[in-house]
């Protein structure tokens, strides 16, 4: 793994990134409702990353919940950085988690951009939930949602 990263270092930016951005929507019960990353070859790693981030999300929710009650900031900020990527979290009031994972080398994405991405995501998610034919708790298969996510990935990736 590390040797890989060294090679990438040497190859510079011409080297293919594993993934630039990944977006996941996680149900209240911590199972994935929607999970998507740009490159599929390290999907596993992405899944692991998202799953690991859920602990941090939980920690943050419980910490925030104690102090502020219902006046909660949905955006949780940077959940944890790793060598290769940054994980940002967002929790809706119904405890559905959004996780955006961004490649660490992607320096164009600042807090504000991430925030607006989450807001967009949340809006689209709300639309999905408003669909009377959608069964809450089912994996999201909405094309509109997919489109929004794709748009974000193109934009950021």
């Amino acid at each position: 793994m590390f040797g890989d990263s060294i090679r990438k270092c040497l190859a510079g930016l011409q080297g293919t990134q594993t993934w630039r951005v990944g977006i996941a929507v996680i149900a209240k019960e911590n199972y994935p409702l929607y999970i998507r990353s740009v490159a599929s070859q390290s999907e596993l790693k992405f899944h692991y990353t998202v799953h690991t981030s859920l602990d941090v999300v939980e920690e943050k929710i419980s910490a925030v919940g104690k102090s502020l009650g219902d006046q909660r900031e949905l955006y949780l900020g940077l959940l944890y950085p790793t060598e290769d990527y940054k994980v940002y979290g967002y929790v809706t009031n119904s405890k559905v988690k959004f996780v955006i994972v961004v490649d660490s080398s992607n320096t164009s994405l600042r807090d504000n951009e991430i925030r607006s991405m989450f807001r967009k995501l949340h809006n689209s998610f709300t639309d999905v939930m408003c669909n009377p034919f959608h069964n809450p708790g089912d994996p999201i298969q909405s094309k509109a949602f997919d489109g929004i996510v794709s748009g974000m990935m193109v934009q950021t990736g």
């Binding site: 590390f2 060294i6 270092c9 019960e29 950085p81 060598e83 660490s104 080398s105 089912d138």
Partner: protein
């Protein structure tokens, strides 16, 4: 610490002693520090460093140093002599001031030390009111009087001295702070200016770094760690920005030095407050990126620890390490492979050590969440280092690996002196770990056993939360662990799971599948078998019964078709597939069937819900099993009526459990995904459905098993077991439960009309004609052997016609038909039918011709008078609601070989004819007419119609029927007429027999069957008044009321009714009343009266009443009401009324005189004379009060009910009325 430069003139010793006091006293009191740019004011303690003034120490132009900046210049003097002042001191002061001015150091103060001793010494020179202070102020303190301070008697402990000290200190502090603020402001401005120049070529980050760090140092000295930290953070951010800009293509020249290849990866060093070595490197512009970062972080770390924020250190450390790795990539710095890992590892441990050094264990434990990231990172890095250096490979490191290790170790440099004596320093750890495989393993791997447990835990959480990719990966790791640990069963289970995992590539799946198959195919002891859960191998998706009703008789063939979805990537050969069955004995042989069972066997197909692996992303915990609802009906055991009905949920336990687990931290249900499925065991010894040597292809497979159906019971399929060599895959519980019934059936014999022979299928059997009936024998469990025969008891009313060419048809359940011959032997009493041999559960059919003899007509008399008293022989005829034909149930008694009891069967025959007779009169001639109606659907030919007297021929019956043969169509009638001629008197009763032969239309004469109709004519007299033959309207007639007691009086009545009349007979009293409501009759004379009835059965009383019919025609008899008469005193003896009669029975209208003239007497067919015993009567006992009490319903039978009497019109004498009913 501020540099305060001092210049003194006078007693140096005194001054020196004063400095120390000053240095001590100065920080005692805090000062409010008002700051520029709106920053919040702060209370600070000023400390000062007193330095002897030297010209060369004054800051030169462009000096940026703040630390060594002289903020305040103090001139000390104890001069109290004006002369001395004027002579030397003033000059000295001027020189000082000049030099200050040239160096732009405007902050100064002159302290004049006064002491009484001095004053005393120079008493003469003292100028009153014009002190030396004033002079100095006048000379130097141009409008700045506060720049000259007097310190009085500094060494004495007087209040005056104290006061002067305090004011001096205050003054010094104020001035010092003023100067500091001013200079700091200027410094900051300079620094900002410098920073703004960063876009200019030649700007150096390192230079700027030094400047801003100076500021940080100052703040640190002032104990303003927060501000100091801000300086470093700003530097950090600035540098980061440059690196990012570099990444974006905006290269700064000075970054070049940071892009040099990394040669040293010795990690962070946090034990020194200031790592001067690195700082020098930065100052010289020779620092590498890692050096700069390390230094920066060590400073930040120091400040954070001062600020008591150790956890921020850990967070920042992690961020830093990640960031550094990124930045090195971004800057395209060449690094030896593994060097960064070393650096990160060492740094992580260094940070952790540093934190551990400033916290106690409890704090550390409570904040482990902050350190865990570092630990994990360090572990990761050590792991990758181990991989890099070949320390984890099975063969050990290669020479290439060793070379790399040596290179890496070289880059670590020498151990720092600070940590040299630590036995557990990060440096030592890494060095040791990299040096040998064993040490590496000791440091990295706790043990495989532990890791497997950890992995299992992780797997559980992934499974329960439905993360399929991590599940797959974790399983693969577990498989590795299990393989290493030699845990064969677990390994095989995991391998099987992985072989069916769609997340893996086909090659991987094949590999794991092969692992299982290889083990299974190993030669060796076959008795030991590894049992695995079937769910990993194949899924049972459907089960289908053939035949679909899943209920067969014993010995039949029942096949079970299993649809198995094989999850393996390759086809697998099974030695055996077996389904074990569990059975419960049926209650008796009846087919008891629950509602749930019916649901199952709806189409004989059971669909099994798929395991969660088939549902893709949905986690096991989110899978809600669908409700299984069954309708339950509770029926009364006696009449099968519905008592209650309900809907029952059969899987509440599952649903409720799920509900619970969702509230807690969702424990994974026992899904096939979970590797720790309960140990499965195949129950041995149970009955099984087996199939040998099957090959399962990937995907759906259909396997047909033959179910054992020997004993009648309900079989429940419990487990499914697949054997592949040494490996068994067991499905421990088939759910929903699947069952089939095997029943045993008693032989059953039915007889029914043969549909084929009759024209219409609904055609009933006709009595009087030979009819084909079909015998159907369901053999059930009984095998009909050769020589078995059915014994029909012959009856007179239904003879059997054995035909020689009788054949039987044997139907097997598999639709085969066999014809075999049947031999029938008839004897006088028994008809014996020899049956052909028939296997069990076959159907034997044969036909037999029988004839039901139509009961002769006496029963058909309109009054239904029964001539035949023997009930046993009498087939009861009754009218059927569906047909106009009268029906006869003909019983057959058959002795069957399988039973000791006779089988009683009933056949219903229908009499095709209806007959009526009537007596017609024409003048004095009498005719008997018989009306014959064909009520069946068949056309008949009628022949040989005859009428004869049953007994002696007293009359001559002359037939008026001309045709010998006659067609009688369906639903048509035929009338036959005979004239009656008589010589003597007409007999009172004439019994006739009408007979005719009939056959269905278009059949020959031999088919004619006789039909008999017996009837009886009776002469019933109606008595007209004397001289008259008939009652005439308007004339009086006599009405005889006849009351008969029908029952014996009850014992109690006898006892109680003690009245005795003169005859010694006990009597009861009745009241009768002629109550004609329809005004047909007029009652002449008394219409009511009481009678005394003797208390004996059949006691009869007759009363004569005169009535007059008011109309001509058939009038109903007048109604007679009978009431109980209860006298008021029991003791009163009542004279028996001569008219009194008892109890009702028959009321017949009689003429006063009997006319016996036969020719005029109206003869009528009489109904039954007595309807015997149909009504009970109980004599009511008398009560004390005279009153009338009606009989309760049914106690009084009116014999003349609805009978009519013919009344002739008053004037008509000549018409002869014929009454025929």
């Amino acid at each position: 610490m501020f540099c305060v430069f001092l210049l003194g003139a006078g007693d140096q010793e005194l001054f020196r002693s004063l400095y120390t006091t000053l240095a001590q006293q100065l920080p005692r009191e805090p000062m409010e520090w008002r700051r520029t740019y709106g920053r919040a004011p702060k209370m600070i303690h000023l400390e000062a460093n007193f330095v002897q003034f030297k010209e060369e120490l004054l800051p030169k132009e462009g000096n940026k140093a703040l630390l060594t900046f002289p903020f305040l210049h103090i001139y000390w003097t104890d001069c109290c002599d004006t002369e001395a002042y004027k002579g030397s001191v003033k000059e000295d002061m001027l020189r000082w001031q000049n030099s200050l001015r040239t160096h732009a150091s405007p902050d100064w103060v002159i302290i004049v030390v006064e002491s009484n001793d001095n004053k005393k010494k120079n008493k003469t020179n003292i100028l009153p009111r014009s002190s030396i202070v004033d002079k100095i102020r006048g000379d130097f303190c141009n409008k700045q009087n506060d720049r000259c301070v007097v310190l009085s008697d500094p060494l004495k402990d007087t209040s005056r001295s104290q006061e002067s000290w305090n004011s001096l200190l205050l003054k010094l502090r104020t001035l010092l702070l003023m100067s500091f603020t001013k200079n700091l402001g200027r410094f900051e401005d300079d620094m900002r200016t410098l920073r703004e120049k960063r876009t200019q070529p030649g700007w150096s980050f390192c230079e700027y770094f030094m400047v801003q760090e100076e500021l940080a140092f100052v703040f640190e000295m002032l104990q303003q760690f927060e501000d100091a930290l801000v300086q470093y953070d700003e530097l950090d951010a600035l540098f980061t920005q440059y690196v990012l800009n570099f990444g974006a293509g905006d290269t700064a020249n000075w970054l070049g030095s940071f892009c040099a290849p990394v040669r040293n990866w010795s990690g962070l060093l946090l034990r020194r407050p200031i790592d001067m070595e690195k700082r020098d490197g930065i100052q010289r512009g020779e620092a590498s990126l890692l050096d700069l970062r390390s230094y920066l972080f060590s400073r930040q770390c120091t400040l954070l620890i001062f600020l008591q924020r150790p956890w921020e250190v850990t967070l920042r450390a992690l961020e830093l390490l990640h960031n550094c790795v990124q930045e090195l990539r971004l800057l395209e710095v060449s690094v030896l492979e593994g060097a960064l890992d070393c650096w990160v590892f060492l740094s992580c441990l260094e940070v952790l050590h540093r934190i551990e050094g400033c916290c106690d264990q409890a704090q550390l434990a409570a904040n482990c969440s902050h350190t865990v990231g570092l630990w994990a990172y360090a572990t990761d890095k050590l792991k990758s280092l181990g991989e890099l250096c070949g320390l984890v490979s099975e063969k050990g490191p290669t020479s290439e690996d060793l070379n790399r290790t040596v290179d890496l170790l070289a880059g670590l440099g020498d151990e720092r002196p600070e940590t040299g004596e630590h036995l557990q320093s990060p440096y030592k750890k890494l060095k040791e770990a990299l040096s040998s495989v064993e040490a590496f393993e000791r440091h990295y791997l706790v043990s495989h056993t532990h890791s497997e447990n950890f992995l299992q835990e992780a797997l559980k959480s992934y499974v329960s939360e439905g993360w399929s990719l991590p599940v797959t990966h974790t399983r693969r790791q577990i498989a590795e662990c299990q393989k290493l640990l030699g845990r064969t069963e677990d390994y095989l289970q995991t391998s099987a799971l992985l072989a069916g995992d769609v997340n893996l590539s086909t090659e991987e799946r094949k590999h794991f599948c092969q692992e299982v198959l290889t083990y299974a195919g190993k030669p060796g002891d076959q008795s030991h078998k590894v049992t695995l859960s079937m769910s990993v191998f194949t899924e049972l998706t459907r089960l289908q019964f053939h035949p679909a009703k899943a209920s067969v008789h014993s010995g039949a063939v029942l096949q079970v078709e299993l649809t198995l979805r094989c999850l393996m990537p390759v086809s697998v050969h099974l030695q055996q597939l077996a389904a074990s069955i569990h059975f419960e004995v049926n209650h008796g042989d009846t087919l008891r069937r629950s509602k749930g069972h019916q649901r199952q066997t709806n189409q004989g197909t059971v669909e099994f819900s798929l395991g969660s692996s088939a549902t893709g992303g949905m986690p096991a915990s989110a899978l809600v099993p669908s409700l299984e609802l069954d309708e339950v009906q509770d029926r009364s055991p006696t009449d099968n009526s519905l008592n209650s009905t309900a809907v029952v949920c059969r899987n509440t336990h599952l649903l409720m459990r799920l509900h619970d687990s969702s509230s807690s931290s969702s424990s994974p249900p026992d899904t096939p995904n979970c590797i720790n499925a309960a140990p499965v065991a195949m129950k041995e010894g149970a009955q099984m459905l087996k199939v040998q040597d099957v090959t399962l292809e990937p995907g759906n497979n259909s396997i047909i098993l033959t179910a054992p159906v020997i004993k009648p019971r309900t079989y429940i399929l419990r487990q499914l077991c697949v054997t592949v060599g040494h490996v068994q895959f067991v499905l421990p519980h088939i759910y929903p439960s699947v069952q089939y019934d095997v029943y045993s059936q008693e032989p059953q014999l039915t007889v029914e009309p043969d549909i084929v022979v009759l024209f219409v299928s609904a055609e009933p059997l006709l009595a009087g004609l030979p009819q084909m009936v079909k015998f159907t024998l369901l053999t059930g469990h009984y095998a009909v052997k050769k020589g078995d025969a059915l014994q029909l008891s012959n009856t007179e009313t239904m003879p059997v016609f054995p035909s020689s060419s009788c054949s039987a048809c044997i139907l097997s359940p598999a639709d085969g038909t066999n014809i075999s011959l049947l031999s029938i032997q008839a004897s006088e009493k028994v008809t014996s039918i020899s049956l052909p041999p028939t296997p069990p559960y076959h159907t034997l059919e044969f036909q037999l011709q029988v004839l039901c003899i139509i009961p002769s007509g006496s029963q058909r008399l309109p009054n239904e008078r029964l001539t035949n008293g023997e009930v046993r022989h009498r087939p009861r005829s009754y009218s059927h609601p569906d047909t106009p034909m009268a029906a006869i149930d003909q019983r057959m008694s058959i002795d069957c070989p399988w039973s000791i009891y006779s089988t009683l069967l009933a056949l219903t025959f229908y009499i095709p004819f209806k007959t009526k007779h009537s007596l017609l009169s024409a003048g004095n001639r009498k005719y008997i007419q018989v009306w014959l109606r064909n009520v069946s659907d068949v056309n008949f030919t009628l022949a040989d119609v005859k009428l004869s007297e049953k007994q002696q021929a007293s009359l001559e019956l002359q037939s008026l029927n001309t045709k010998t043969q006659q067609l009688l169509c369906s639903r048509h009638s035929v009338f036959c007429l005979w004239e009656v001629r008589w010589k003597d008197d007409l007999p009172l009763c004439l019994q006739c027999v009408f007979s005719a032969n009939f056959s269905p239309l278009n059949q020959d004469v031999s088919a004619f069957k006789p039909f008999h109709y017996q009837f009886q004519l009776e002469r019933v007299p109606i008595f007209p008044p004397a001289g008259e033959q008939h009652c005439r309207s308007g004339l009086l007639c006599g009405l005889e009321v006849c009351i008969t007691r029908l029952t014996e009086p009850a014992e109690a009545e006898l006892a109680e009714d003690s009245k005795t009349d003169s005859d010694g007979l006990k009597t009861t009293k009745l009241m009768y009343e002629v109550a004609d409501s329809s005004s047909n009759w007029a009652v002449c004379g008394r219409s009511s009266g009481t009678v005394s009835m003797p208390m004996a059965a059949n006691a009869t009383h007759k009363v004569q009443i005169e009535v007059m019919p008011l109309f001509a025609g058939h009038l109903p008899f007048p109604k007679i009401k009978v009431l109980k008469y209860l006298p008021h005193t029991p003791s009163t003896t009542i004279q028996p009324d001569p008219d009194s009669c008892l109890e009702n029975d028959s009321l017949s209208l009689l003429d006063k005189t009997l006319e016996d003239q036969g020719d005029t007497a109206s003869i009528r067919s009489r109904g039954s004379i007595h309807s015997v015993g149909s009504n009970e009567h109980q004599q009511q006992r008398s009560s004390t009060m005279p009153r009338l009490e009606p009989f309760s319903p049914g106690q009084v039978f009116n014999h003349s009910q609805s009978q009519q009497v013919l009344v002739l019109p008053a004037a008509d004498d000549h018409i002869i009325e014929v009454n025929a009913t």
